[in-house]
Symmetry: D2
Subunit: 352 residues, 4 copies
């Protein structure tokens, strides 16, 4: 199988399953009072050099983002985010649900990175009408972005400085934070709170877990009423130890970085190969584990016929038509992708 | 450890972990399109003799109940439930959140079974004021109840007949449905849709899973917009196969019933032993995996000193005071509880 | 016409219409920035001896209560109120809507006065389960009550002391506050903030206005984000001066008390007359402008035949059946009710 | 006073106050059961040639729009509207509140008219991701637009045809519908349901009422649960007759059109005068009662010094700076604006 449709289609890492198995001994306090959760908190604080950070686990990225935004946002505020952001495009309105009806103000920017000038304008235009319009709420950015790019520390700092100047908290959707981090080669602290991030949703599911995400509040004041929101949203696990076990193993001995490194390498290999194919072009910087490319329709047809699974991006394109006309696609790699699969994919593409 | 605080404190059954391990091979479509989910649906339809039933999985009981009630209830309606119901007492307002602010009308009744006469009165008094008051919504009942009792088919039929006469759907919180079913010795169909239940939240987490619950819509029309609600609530799992794997294994070869049988037997053994202890009394029928008992304070002190873990029920009781005065307690057993633990508990209690 | 169905069926006082007419000159700033609103605030602060109070106007009692409770209550909290309270029985779930899904905990008590012991129990039982159950929110009481009784200062103080001890704010639904106040013969300050009330919804509509209610925050900190909630709820009037004009006239020269005095006198006259009729009984203290009475069916039939309009209370009673068997009714008077109407009603009743 | 800040700053028409006065006789059924409301419904059906239409009154335009959209929109849908629309810019998120968290998809277009091509694209791009993204909801347009333009019947038909083809209902925010209608010179039916409009929020407040708006459902099926939503939102008036009286008078003998004609004439006079002033330019078609113009800063300073009240539009402009540099403004006229005020305004501007 050549499965490049998503990084949520691959298996969990064996270390994760082993940890779940180990956790499955005897009785344990429920609802996050398990000993493994204390270990998760310890690991996060150590790795992020944030001894005060508060950590909470949930099972899906949508829950993590929506609960975090719900905690940071009043219903009459707006969240500033990129128009391609997952919270806007892929969560069926979960942020609106968890904020009791806040707005999202959509900002443009290349490669799904928020354009700082556009953000500055949007912030400045919001709230001028007093009670008639919605008010300024948090800035939410995605690292790595939905188009596989990564904010450099300087780019990140420009965004967070704008938020800070307006007194707004900064939320980072880090569904692929590990991929961004190994790409940046910086420390977790430099990539987050030292760069002005207040709340990080640290993804695990796309990077080798069964299903677990951490919400990290670098400023413990921001955790506020998160626990009530999580319970009320149905996201507090009774047998919480299985979430904890996944995350503790993930953060132990750098496993999370190792898995992300493998995924990123597979993407780089794929991009390098595609770059050499006539008629192909790479559309966005390949800085994490995603490749956005344009290929002639004839190559798509051949890839599909060979069983390659991936999305045309945007969805609304058709394989019918001029064989030379390019269609754009998204290819996503994960930690489990062997070189052989990448190479076979490239071979089919090149052969077309 | 003598852990009798809850059935969410025990381990998952080994068959479940083995199934998760087996599911962890290669790539799989996400979000419920996995092959194992088709198997879950097939199993539910077969076991419940309900070829049209629609099945959805989530990871927590609160999510299952709240999403089901959200789907069945308009915001200006009220849900009729027992005043001890989990949806009222233990979900931090999740039903209100997922219904966009519906009410719960609380009904009394012994052993946390809804009293049919009180239900009839409540239904009849609701909606008489037209637009000024809230309207009649679903009837929600819990099987087994929060106090460890089980509705007989006849009792169930009385409740559902009232709902049916008023045109109201019936929701069953079946967090311990397996325990009730083996206690009743009837078929899944007889215990649910043939008795007038429209939507069953079939628990797995308390009965040996890592964390998975099924929402079963016997009338497929009731599934309505559940899928949007689940996604928007952050409860649609990307790596859904791990939920499916748990539930498929659970329903295969009667494992779910075997696990419930073990838990019920442990409770029966416990209740029988307590009944023979001077000063002890059993407060509610022991028909599932919970024992509610009153014991003199001196016995509680001894049990606690020996490391027994359980809740005083209600919580607001103190171990200080007259050693002969009884305190009331909840003891919950699960599939993993060996006879030795029960016997040791009884020994300590008897010795006191 | 003998209209005793409600105090919302009568006309507005001529002084009110005259004030609206006077306000209808030239252009005026909108949305509450009109000069008349400043006058309303001045009057409220003076009359209530509360120089810091914040005042906001809306057009309906449901809006006033629901917005006030929305401002005081988190979604995962519960409002403690009487089970007969308007916020529970007559607002179609508006408090749930404006609080984003909080609960109401229903307390008993004679004559729709909250029983302090029952309140104390309810407060003490709430929140013990931590994140699993909803948390304690405001205490809401109605003055005069839904059954026409009035809390004495001492009764009020017992309720508010319980709230204060638990750190909970106190909301007073004062749809008939003027009627209660003239009945008590105390000062507005003694009847509210000096007795521990934090937020008063001061009714006008039932007492001679076209449609205007004031929300008075004695502690300005409690006003919080009320203005956003009001706008977002669609309750901020652009031509606000017409609300202001009504309320300014209402509070000028004691008009509000004069109107309430007339309504109360009519109720007293009615109750005195009914007390002399054989087979009649008065069910609740007549301390404001409502009379709850039981009369034989034959009297009801005669009254209805003569065109008297009032509600059987509760609604679910039938005029068919034993002519001597009593049915219970609610009779409401307003400022505009002439003695002749009362006397004719009594005459018909006596004659029966 | 030269008040051109808004059409909500002027007085109510004398006919309206007289009608309210006439309605203030004796007792009347509450909550919309008054005889005057029947007259309102009769008038709407007759005037709009819509014998099946359902009509409901509320007091504010925000309530009308938000309740209408709440009735038409599921929480997981998005409302397609212009990015300048009142529902987006001026209601503090009321649509999100009343829809329980739906999105608004913002469409561009000149003069605040929705661009049909952009709408077609937005509709086509929505919903493609299934449960992951929000779904298509109603199309909402504003007639006259927020920039004083009017959709021609042909322009309207293009928009509604797109909605119809996608199975989406059409909502018209008609806060200034009367102004648009007299500008178009067509019939109410041609301007609404015959052109594909399903629900019209027919403004009254900006056009000479004290505060009343009608929500007209041309297809009675669309009224659905509006009545519960209105009550629950606190927008059902107990003394409803005063809303009815306003609206009945408004629709009697063409008063609504007469008032709008006066306002439009004042705007035309203003625009004609400004067109002759050196350095001035008119920014949008003046087709209703609003003029958007650019004037050199020196003229603004002079107008302000003379007491003219109006908004710079957008707000974020400063009177400081180059005296010849133009600033853009919004000027709004209402029915009560005498020619003398317009002429004086123009005189000051010309003189500058």
């Amino acid at each position: 199988m050549m499965f490049l449709a998503s990084d949520n289609g691959g298996p969990a890492a064996p270390e994760i399953l082993a940890a779940v198995q180990r956790a499955n001994e005897g009785h344990s306090p429920a609802y996050g009072a398990d000993a493994l959760m204390a270990e998760v908190t310890r690991l996060v604080r150590e790795i992020f050099e944030a001894p005060e950070a508060e950590v909470r686990l949930v099972a899906t990225g949508t829950a993590a983002n929506a609960l975090a935004l719900g905690t940071l946002t009043e219903p009459w505020q707006t969240v500033f985010c990129h128009r391609e952001a997952h919270v806007q495009e892929d969560e069926c309105g979960a942020p609106e649900f968890y904020t009791a009806g806040a707005k999202l103000t959509l900002i443009g920017g290349e490669h799904a990175r928020i354009d700082p000038d556009a953000l500055a304008r949007a912030i400045s235009e919001t709230g001028a009408k007093g009670v008639h319009g919605v008010q300024r709420g948090p800035v939410s950015l995605t690292q790595a972005t939905e188009l596989g790019a990564v904010y450099s520390p300087a780019e990140l700092a420009r965004i967070t400085a704008l938020a800070r100047a307006a007194g707004l908290p900064v939320h980072m959707d880090g569904a692929r934070f590990a991929n961004a981090l190994v790409s940046l080669g910086t420390t977790p602290a430099e990539a987050t709170w030292r760069a002005g991030v207040d709340v990080l949703c640290l993804g695990g599911t796309k990077n080798g877990l069964l299903g677990a995400e951490a919400v990290i509040f670098f400023d413990p004041a921001h955790v506020a009423d998160f626990d009530f929101r999580r319970k009320r949203g149905g996201h507090l696990f009774s047998k919480h130890r299985y979430l904890s076990a996944q995350f503790a193993a993930y953060l132990t001995d750098g496993l999370w970085l190792e898995l992300a490194t493998r995924a990123n390498r597979a993407a780089a290999r794929l991009a390098a190969g595609l770059a050499g194919i006539e008629g192909a072009s790479i559309l966005h910087p390949v800085e994490a584990n995603m490749v956005f490319a344009a290929l002639p329709r004839r190559i798509h047809r051949r890839l599909r016929a060979a069983g390659a699974e991936y999305y045309l991006w945007p969805f609304e394109q058709s394989l019918d038509g001029d064989p030379e006309a390019p269609l754009t696609m998204r290819l996503v790699t994960d930690w489990s992708m062997p070189d052989e699969v990448i190479d076979r994919f490239l071979e089919i593409a090149a052969d077309a």
